[in-house]
């Protein structure tokens, strides 16, 4: 599904350049539920952007469903993004002057789906996320949890293969966070690959695979079986703290 091979990425910061990713090798299968962790500056957001084709990489190869993603035109990238990837952001990033339904329907607009049809589909997705009666509300009339659910509906509407979530619970309280994670798990149960970036251990612990980044390299990958161990360690860490 996703195959990264020795990915390098550096940013030009004026005269100096910042080497963010220093050779990432990663293999994510269809249907995986993965979290990417790491301290700030470890390159986790950059990795997510590259995965989501929002940013280019400098060296290495990135295969998505067997296609090599390299030096694509903006147009092609946009199309692929629309078909393959759904985004969920920390700050929700709903369009403020559109109501919930219109926000959810937006990706279909770019696909050229007629208005009536896409609004109908949007309602369906809102219904799935328990927000049907909020369809005509503007984003500023909704709570953080509701907004994030709208954003998830928007990410799902184009029936992507992958959901990329950048700190999806970062702006939510724990009740809402768990709710969002439940939704993401349900999505994952439907066979969609879900990749989230987080720095919260309890959130990461709900995924089936944790990738720890450190200083632009993969520090460790904790898989399903080892996850219990991780949880134990985490709880132990809390107790000693």
């Amino acid at each position: 599904m996703i195959r990264l091979n020795n990915i390098h990425k550096s940013y030009e910061m004026g005269s100096s350049s910042l080497h963010v990713l220093k050779g990432i090798d990663l293999h994510i299968e269809q249907g995986d539920f993965v979290s990417i962790m790491g301290s700030s500056g470890s390159g986790k957001s950059t990795l997510l952007n590259i995965l989501g084709m929002l940013d280019n990489y400098d060296n290495g190869t990135y295969h998505l469903s067997g296609n090599l993603i390299a030096n694509m035109s903006e147009k092609k990238a946009a199309k692929l993004r629309n078909e393959m990837v759904g985004f969920v952001f920390q700050s929700f990033n709903l369009i403020s002057f559109k109501n919930a339904m219109e926000n959810v329907a937006l990706p279909l607009y770019y696909k050229g789906v007629p208005r009536k049809k896409r609004n109908l589909i949007a309602l369906e997705y809102l219904d799935k996320l328990g927000l049907k009666e909020w369809a005509n509300h503007m984003p500023n009339e909704m709570s953080g949890g509701q907004k994030q659910r709208v954003a998830i509906a928007r990410a799902l509407i184009s029936q992507p293969k992958i959901i990329l979530a950048d700190e999806p619970t970062g702006a939510l309280d724990s009740a809402n966070s768990y709710e969002v994670m439940d939704i993401l798990r349900e999505i994952n149960d439907d066979g969609i690959t879900v990749i989230i970036v987080t720095h919260e251990h309890d959130i990461a612990a709900m995924t089936s695979q944790i990738i720890r980044l450190n200083d632009g390299r993969i520090h460790e990958i904790i898989r399903n079986g080892e996850l219990k161990q991780f949880q134990k360690e985490y709880i132990h860490g809390l107790e000693t703290a």
Binding site: D55, K75, A78, K79, E83, E102, S158
Partner: protein, 420 residues
């Protein structure tokens, strides 16, 4: 191709951002509104002035006498003199460039009420004219007829009266034609109530308060002898009236023993010269209108561009999200440009309509104001309106394209991160 969805998106985006849309549109609206108003006002001034003079023969010149300023052939300076009827005949016979020639005598209106009919009296300007005068300064009969050659030949005591004279000397339901007026002690029969087609005024007084009688009758009835106070000529087609004016001046100086270098003795002016001045003036006004109008329009367009640029900055995040969920750069640019064009054209159209509407209201008010106004029929022509609109569309595209290009050059991820 008409893309209903695209327009729905645009209209909803504009509607949801009312203040922003309004501010953007207002610049353009104001620019085109001012252009229309100014151009219409300029045109109205032109129409007003030209309407008042267009019926006047533009190839006409007028002559009167002043005191001499140079001693000549035994005469001292400061001599008073007059033209004579023999001058008129001489010019008719010898100056071939003359088309129409009409001498004029001024009646006595120094004594106050010079016109009497029963209990009614009035002070009017009385002129003795040839029928040719009506061809130089056009008058048309509102009732009855104009004075003609036979009146002149038979020295009939008939008169044409201005509309105001008819008002003062007759009842509303009275027909003035065939009635008599006592003018400076002599009875004249009214044969026509006449209406002045121009507002150029030769000889002073209001044109509505004019009484015109045959030149020959006036001469005989009031004892003017062979004097001529004033005369008007027009030049034949192909002759410049300015040249004719000079020629006649030289000739008249010679006939009346006036020094050739005397600049003062003969008073004259020609309409041609005045018309050239008018034309230049209106050309100037129109040029100014365009310069100021285009300047205003340009300011409006720059305003739109500016606001668009700010908007794009404000919308960076929104554009980033749109691109993250699948909008291509072309879609984004299309949206922004379409928004901008839509705004400018709508605003321009409203400005245009409102401007034309205001001009029309002004026109209605002016129509009630009557003939006296030097300001009438404000209008703008279609070409100008359309070219202004075309400028707006182009400006709208540019105003949209520049910020759109900028918006697309920002990486979607940076755009989204902009907020944090």
């Amino acid at each position: 191709m008409f893309d209903l969805d695209l327009w729905r998106e645009i209209v909803s985006a504009l509607k949801k951002n009312r203040l922003r849309s309004f501010m953007t549109a207002f610049g353009v609206f104001w620019g085109i509104f001012m252009l229309v108003i100014m151009s219409g006002a300029g045109k109205a001034l032109e129409n007003g002035v030209l309407d008042g003079v267009k019926a006047f023969a533009t190839n006409s010149a007028f002559f009167w006498t002043e005191r001499t300023s140079v001693p000549y052939e035994g005469f001292q300076r400061g001599r008073r003199w007059n033209y004579e009827t023999s001058d008129i005949d001489y010019i008719r016979d010898n100056v071939k460039e003359v088309e129409y020639l009409s001498p004029r005598l001024f009646g006595n209106n120094q004594t106050g009420n010079n016109t009497i009919r029963g209990e009614r009296t009035g002070a009017f300007n009385v002129f003795g004219d040839y029928p040719d005068y009506f061809k130089i300064d056009r008058w048309t009969p509102a009732q009855g007829r104009l004075i003609n050659e036979i009146d002149l030949l038979q020295e009939r005591k008939v008169c044409n009266i201005g509309e105001r004279v008819a008002e003062v000397m007759f009842d509303k339901d009275e027909n003035p034609i065939g009635q008599y007026l006592k003018i400076s002690g002599v009875y004249f029969q009214v044969v026509g109530v006449i209406h002045a087609e121009t507002r150029i005024n030769i000889g002073g007084g209001k044109k509505e308060e004019t009484i015109i009688i045959p030149f020959t009758t006036m001469r005989k009835a009031y004892n003017f002898g062979n004097r001529v106070y004033f005369f008007s000529v027009t030049s034949k087609p192909g002759t410049k009236v300015s040249d004719l004016e000079e020629k006649l001046k030289t000739l008249l100086k010679d006939r009346h023993k006036i020094a050739p270098e005397d600049q003062q003795a003969i008073g004259s002016f020609n309409i041609e010269k005045e018309f050239v001045k008018f034309s230049a003036l209106f050309l100037g006004i129109q040029g100014l209108t365009w310069i100021v109008g285009i300047g205003t329009l340009l300011a409006g367009v720059i305003g739109v561009s500016n606001i668009m640029l700010v908007i794009i900055k404000e919308r960076t995040q929104e554009i980033g999200i749109q691109r993250a969920i699948g909008a291509t750069p072309a879609t984004v640019i299309k949206h922004i440009v379409a928004e901008s064009v839509f705004l400018t054209v709508m605003a321009g159209y409203i400005g245009l309509s409102l401007g034309v509407g205001v001009l029309e209201i002004l026109n209605q008010i002016l129509l009630k104001g009557g003939d006296e106004l030097f300001f009438r029929n404000p209008e703008i022509n279609l070409t100008m309106a359309l070219s202004a609109l075309a400028v707006l569309v182009v400006a709208g595209i540019i105003a949209g394209l520049i910020p759109a290009k900028r918006a697309v050059s920002i990486k979607p991820i940076d755009a989204i991160r902009d907020e944090g």
